[in-house]
Symmetry: C2
Subunit: 437 residues, 2 copies
């Protein structure tokens, strides 16, 4: 069966040698074909390719549809039973050896942000299919059924995985996405049925565990030259609209000491956010990513500034603590500048810790394969956070060169991609042998 497809992961082997670790003397294990993954990533990159590089494969677009067809072809090549659930997720299933067990899920997504890259989601999707194909090509049957899931519309709010882990609201279904379609219509467009979403939902116990391979999208692994990240959890996110009310006035005739300048107060606020977030130990992040000043002319002191504040951490209490400090400092800035701050929370996503047992499995698998490993939070949202509502989840990160993501310049090295898929495969094999509950 494997005649011309000797599984080769040159960089992975090189990493093993470089690490100087002895190859564990166990029975010969199935091994993924890193080159095949990379070739498939290249093929996938054609669907929605941008002239200036990278990809715009927006969920529910024509490019998304064609990318999904390509994915389903690969799943069939991996001898998976392919179906689309009522939420539009693509599921490739292989039966397990032991009756009565709930499936193990592996997967990711293939939709992209506008002008995104070719690795975010794609690596995990191609990696999961590769793992399934390696198993079938190696003649290995797991105890549990295996489901490779390519979730729909991750970038627009983890929609497909949300429908598996919970219930989509009417508001979500009516949301207009970047493709121009409402989510409701998008689901129908890709072969789902928004009227029968209950059919896609899984109950607690209906999934044994979920493992996701993903690019880090940040620069920690790359800058520390570490092969594999074991994700401790997906950070919680809170977002606010911050409105600063001063008084708009003539920039020429209003002396400096008679101003109530909303822009100056905003500047001090943005600096304070950075100072407060970086002054506490830990890996929390705080960002002011958008700002609007009114009326917005060279010669008018801004009377109102509205800006967007975002805080993320694995610990929701820490987010709240940071916000308390920030709003206290805003009070001081307001008094000094003669302005008024008000905060409207616009988003709140609860942190989703990964399962400790799965973290140990991934850590062990990676180390046995000779990789350097570190534990780390995921600063970005992922489908895993939705599945965490009904099942234990684990996530494997590989380096993003220079930490760049959501950009045509997003890049992960072929060797790292092979490494990640190898860790996914070996974690899955370990997991399959365990009893989790």
């Amino acid at each position: 069966m494997l005649k011309n497809q000797r599984p080769i992961i040159p960089v992975f082997l090189a990493a093993l040698c470089a690490a100087g670790s002895a190859l564990p003397q166990q029975q010969r294990q199935p091994a993924v074909n890193g080159a095949r993954i990379v070739a498939r990533l290249n093929a996938l990159s054609e669907f929605g390719k941008n002239p200036q590089g990278g990809v715009s494969r927006l969920a529910y677009s024509e490019a998304d549809l064609r990318g999904r067809e390509y994915v389903m072809g690969l799943m069939r090549e991996a001898k998976l039973d392919v179906s689309i659930d009522s939420a539009g997720n693509i599921i490739g299933r292989r039966a397990g050896g032991e009756p009565g067990l709930a499936p193990l899920l592996i997967g990711s997504h293939i939709d992209s942000v506008p002008e995104g890259g070719n690795y975010d989601g794609d690596v995990g999707s191609m990696g999961a299919i590769e793992v399934a194909q390696t198993l079938v090509e190696s003649g290995v049957t797991l105890r549990h059924p295996l489901e490779v899931v390519v979730f729909q519309n991750e970038e627009g709010g983890t929609i497909g995985s949300h429908a598996i882990g919970g219930e989509l609201t009417e508001k979500q279904l009516n949301l207009v996405t970047n493709s121009g379609k409402r989510i409701r219509d998008g689901i129908r467009f890709i072969g789902g049925d928004p009227e029968k979403l209950g059919g896609a939902r899984r109950r607690r116990g209906g999934v044994t565990a979920y493992l996701e391979l993903h690019i880090e999208q940040g620069g920690i692994l790359d800058s520390e030259k570490i092969n594999i990240g074991v994700v401790e959890g997906i950070v919680g996110i809170k977002q606010w609209d911050v409105t600063i009310e001063g008084f708009a006035n003539h920039a020429g005739t209003t002396p400096m000491n008679q101003r109530r300048d909303a822009m100056l107060a905003a500047a001090r606020f943005i600096d304070a956010v950075n100072r407060i977030v970086t002054s506490m130990p830990g890996r929390q992040v705080g960002t002011v990513g958008k700002i609007q000043a009114q009326p917005g002319a060279y010669n008018v002191i801004p009377g109102r500034v509205i800006l967007g504040l975002e805080l993320r951490d694995l610990d929701e209490k820490k987010i709240d603590q940071l916000f308390d400090k920030i709003s206290a400092e805003a009070e001081q800035i307001a008094r000094a500048a003669g302005v008024k701050f008000s905060f409207t929370q616009t988003n709140s996503i609860t942190p989703a810790p990964t399962d400790e047992r799965l973290r140990r499995i991934i850590d062990g698998a990676a180390k046995e394969l000779g990789f350097t490993v570190r534990a780390m939070p995921s600063g970005a949202g992922h489908d895993a956070q939705e599945i965490a509502r009904i099942a234990p989840v684990g996530m494997i990160f590989i380096p993003s060169v220079d930490g760049i993501s959501h950009s045509p310049r997003e890049y992960s090295r072929p060797g790292d991609i092979g490494n990640g898929a190898a860790v996914l495969l070996h974690s899955l094999l370990k997991l399959d042998k365990m009893k989790l509950d």
Copy 2:
């Protein structure tokens, strides 16, 4: 002739009494009718009146056209010979008693900013007509010819006065104004002829002097409870677009110490502008009135921020000094934040000092009338700065309550308006007796 129109300026008289100064024992002087000015300001406020208060009498709009017709009616009532010059300025002329003298000009404008107030420009225009009418009603003939000028489109860049003091460029003529019309078409719309602008232009020596009464538009006179401001000059203005190039990245996955956050650098820059401008002695002002952050989302670290910087002072060297300090500090901020600043100058208006002799005349006239007086810069641009290119100019300021201008909440008290017109009249009478060159 003055049967039922006894010139009464109650607040002016009250001010005299309050100041306890002895009424100078000179021949009875003509006196303006403050109540008539206020009644005319009220009538003028109907043209372009906003439902929510204030006025939108944009240059070249229907409201502007009707306001101008009202003005020409008042000029005829004041026995002035009314004409529209080729640039569209309204000129009401009265012959002088001594042959061969160049005219004395007084006036202002009646166009407004969008959602402006009822005092900016209007006070000086109605005040100048009142002065001319007072002279004719008092039977006083000046040595010099008198021209009351209501300049067109002051708010859109002192266009009408620019055409008198110099030459409008093709670029200016093709500029689309707030009314939606190009300046060229606007001039035609109000009765001028953009093809014959040379006819409106005055040469040096063709105007003896120009006096303008205006509201301060700032809060200095109001907060210091001073009746009259003698304008030392109209500040110079320089404006820049400041571009800050950082690197856009994922706000969740990029650790705080790996960011090149253009927004954070912008915040520190805005704070530095304020600190530098306020740390030097003097009345200079510095403003960041507009800002744009790209890409502009809660969850993306801004990779580029573009903001508008404006500096104003009576002394151009000081503006340049401030800018040098600001750009040096920007260098430091750039190094610390891993970003790059670039500055593109978008506007430069040279300071226009008023004539020292005219300042003394105004100061003397105001003091003789019993008013408190202070010298001050004009932070805003005015038609006087254009006329300063060809003739000595002087400006008289009256208080703006709470320093509010370019707003429906702009307000000047009737008493202050009468005071200002009285100072304009008495300065004009003194000026008429002098030989300026």
